[in-house]
């Protein structure tokens, strides 16, 4: 759905005024890029000749134009400028296997589902506050009776909201821990029928927190974000090593980064310790007298991997610290800062298929940080259209799901995850466990009055109000429920939708924006 370049713009190679002629400070600040944008037919070539930071600045400039940060008069000139920006972003997309999609349909996810995606991605969970927990759960916690119930009484499949968790492999692996915790605490198994997502989060937090006072609990030793980085290194580590070395980066930096990505699944440069690859006189000297020293160590020899690993394990990695000829530790400014990007955004994960795939390696890509910000998220929501109860948002999409790493616009590494047996197994299991969040909520709500009556729980409007927040994004037409139930949900959801609309209208174009023709959906 890319915008067509105006024929007038195509006819004239140099249709833009010079930077000096432009009054906009936004353009003045980027005057040197103006030549690149004026190049037209040679744009790709000129763009690729730019150093990476200026490529980023060019992308920022293009998104700035598309976001109408640059307003030109007369209007015709402004339209040409917009045409040019749309054309160039399409051409940059060709370079890096991606495209600017003006209209990704957006079916909102519930807040609960978003949280689950995030938690699986990071493998961590934070402490819940008292008011986030349901009255029923709090009642069952207070009236817990250790030893009264048997482990087999805790059937998580009976819990509508656990079934929402169960869609994700990351949570399926900790299901036994959750059952054991509930059993050990002696929480009535009937609680499972009415527990909310926040209640289960509380259980998971208490299960895995290092101390009861901890604010964070790591429930997966390696979250799916880190797993992706580690899997990528397993499959393509050598390619990345070669690519970074060929870009002229000091091999010690490359080796240290690749090691960290492989071992910890972490790409963070700030906390990266760059170590030597070969023994230096200084290192041998420092090691002498320590338990790590061996008489076989010789200056110039490769430092054995086991020694590096052991020193890192013992927090003694500083013994291997890499230094330049002046004895100064290496500067990290020229190192790429990779971040993990979701190719199909979490917000678009509710696309009729199943939710768990949003954290699959096929949907993740390592991208250099500045490119992540300026390119992959720099064009988010430039277009936002609501039509026939559907919402469309613009976004940069990847054309090829095999792209696993983008180091700048040109350098890509591909990985064929489809052949990965682990992923195939995970996909199979995930597909078996798909549920509809709203139907599960409905089941839970149906259980609440019965349980509340059975145990005399003071179940009030407060609880409903808390729940309403969790149902922010409910779409009536997405579930097959009775008219009465729809009415209940509508009553809950309506005020939230109003707030949402107000928020959205605030983000619309400023008053003096020129109209962009030929771009209506």
């Amino acid at each position: 759905m890319s915008r067509k370049k105006s024929s007038y713009a195509a006819k004239h190679n140099s249709f833009l005024p010079s930077a000096a002629e432009l009054s906009s400070t936004f353009i003045k600040e980027n005057a040197d890029l103006w030549d690149v944008l004026r190049a037209n037919s040679e744009f790709e070539q000129k763009f690729l000749e730019l150093p990476y930071p200026r490529q980023i600045a060019t992308v920022d400039l293009i998104s700035g134009i598309m976001r109408n940060k640059v307003v030109m008069s007369p209007e015709k000139l402004h339209e040409m400028l917009l045409d040019m920006a749309y054309d160039y972003i399409e051409r940059i997309g060709w370079i890096c296997n991606s495209y600017y999609d003006e209209g990704n349909i957006y079916y909102p996810l519930s807040d609960d589902e978003k949280k689950l995606v995030r938690m699986e991605c990071y493998g961590s969970i934070d402490a819940r506050r008292e008011h986030e927990l349901s009255s029923c759960y709090k009642f069952f916690c207070k009236t817990s009776n250790r030893g009264k119930f048997r482990l087999k009484d805790y059937d998580l499949a009976q819990s509508p909201m656990w079934r929402v968790f169960n869609q994700f492999e990351g949570f399926r692996t900790i299901a036994p821990n959750v059952r054991r915790y509930l059993y050990k605490q002696g929480i009535n198994p009937d609680a499972l029928k009415v527990m909310s997502v926040s209640d289960f989060c509380d259980v998971i937090h208490k299960c895995f927190a290092p101390t009861p006072q901890s604010m964070k609990a790591i429930f997966l030793q390696t979250g799916y974000k880190k797993r992706f980085v580690k899997s990528f290194m397993r499959e393509c580590g050598k390619k990345l090593y070669a690519q970074l070395c060929s870009s002229g980066l000091d091999e010690r930096k490359v080796a240290s980064l690749c090691r960290r990505m492989s071992k910890d699944g972490c790409c963070d440069i700030g906390s990266l310790v760059i170590t030597e690859i070969n023994f230096t006189p200084r290192i041998i000297n420092d090691l002498k007298g320590t338990e790590y020293y061996n008489d076989d160590f010789k200056v110039g020899d490769k430092i054995p991997q086991e020694l590096t690993d052991r020193l890192f394990w013992d927090n003694k990695e500083s013994l291997l610290l890499a230094r330049d000829e002046n004895g100064v530790t290496l500067n990290k400014d020229d190192m790429p800062n990779f971040e993990v990007h979701h190719k199909n955004a979490v917000k678009f994960a509710n696309d009729g298929d199943y939710l768990a795939k949003v954290n699959y390696p096929t949907n993740l890509v390592l991208v250099e940080r500045e490119m992540h910000r300026a390119y992959f998220h720099g064009f988010d929501e430039i277009e936002e259209v609501a039509k026939n109860n559907e919402m469309y948002f613009s976004r940069i999409n990847m054309c090829d799901l095999r792209v696993a790493l983008l180091n700048g616009f040109e350098h890509k590494i591909y990985c064929n995850w489809e052949k990965n047996t682990q992923l195939q197994k995970r996909m199979k299991e995930d597909k078996k466990n798909v549920v509809n969040y709203y139907e599960m909520q409905m089941q839970r709500f149906n259980n609440i009055p019965d349980i509340a009556n059975q145990y005399n729980i003071d179940y009030s409007k407060n609880d409903l109000n808390n729940e309403r927040k969790n149902l922010l994004n409910l779409l009536q037409d997405k579930i097959n429920v009775s008219a009465e139930d729809v009415q209940i949900f509508t009553d809950w959801i309506e005020p939230e939708i109003k707030i949402k609309k107000q928020r959205k209208s605030k983000r619309r174009k400023p008053k003096n924006f020129p109209t962009k023709q030929g771009n209506e959906r």
């Binding site: 934070d126 006072q213 604010m215 974000k225 993990v340 910000r373 994004n473």
Partner: protein, 133 residues
Amino acid sequence: MNTFLDEIKNKKIAQGEKLEAEALIIAQKILHNMGLGMIPKSYAEFLKHYNGLKFDGSYLFGATVDDDLDIIDKNEQIEKPHNLLLLGCNDFDLLCYDDKSAHYKVIDRGDFQVTDEYSENELDYALCRIFEF
């Protein structure tokens, strides 16, 4: 309950440059002029310990010359709801402060929906929520 500072103490995260009173005043002034309100007291207190923080894709911004962490730059560069002061972010969320309601808000980066809200004295929860280890 531990504080967020307790939680990060053992993470070997560099503290970065110290917060200078002048830098904080300048940041307050510019952010106020941008219509974003003032840096809340509790967050300013936190900045005295960590004037910005970054680790593996999670960021908390401060009054610092570090381009990755400069609160003024980030409020200009990162897409966020208008009138909210951006204090930090991770892959999924933005941590903002709403001067009007005096609440910290965790906002989905994709659709700008508020996913969590914390009062001024619940900063620890908000920081923990945004900073994933």
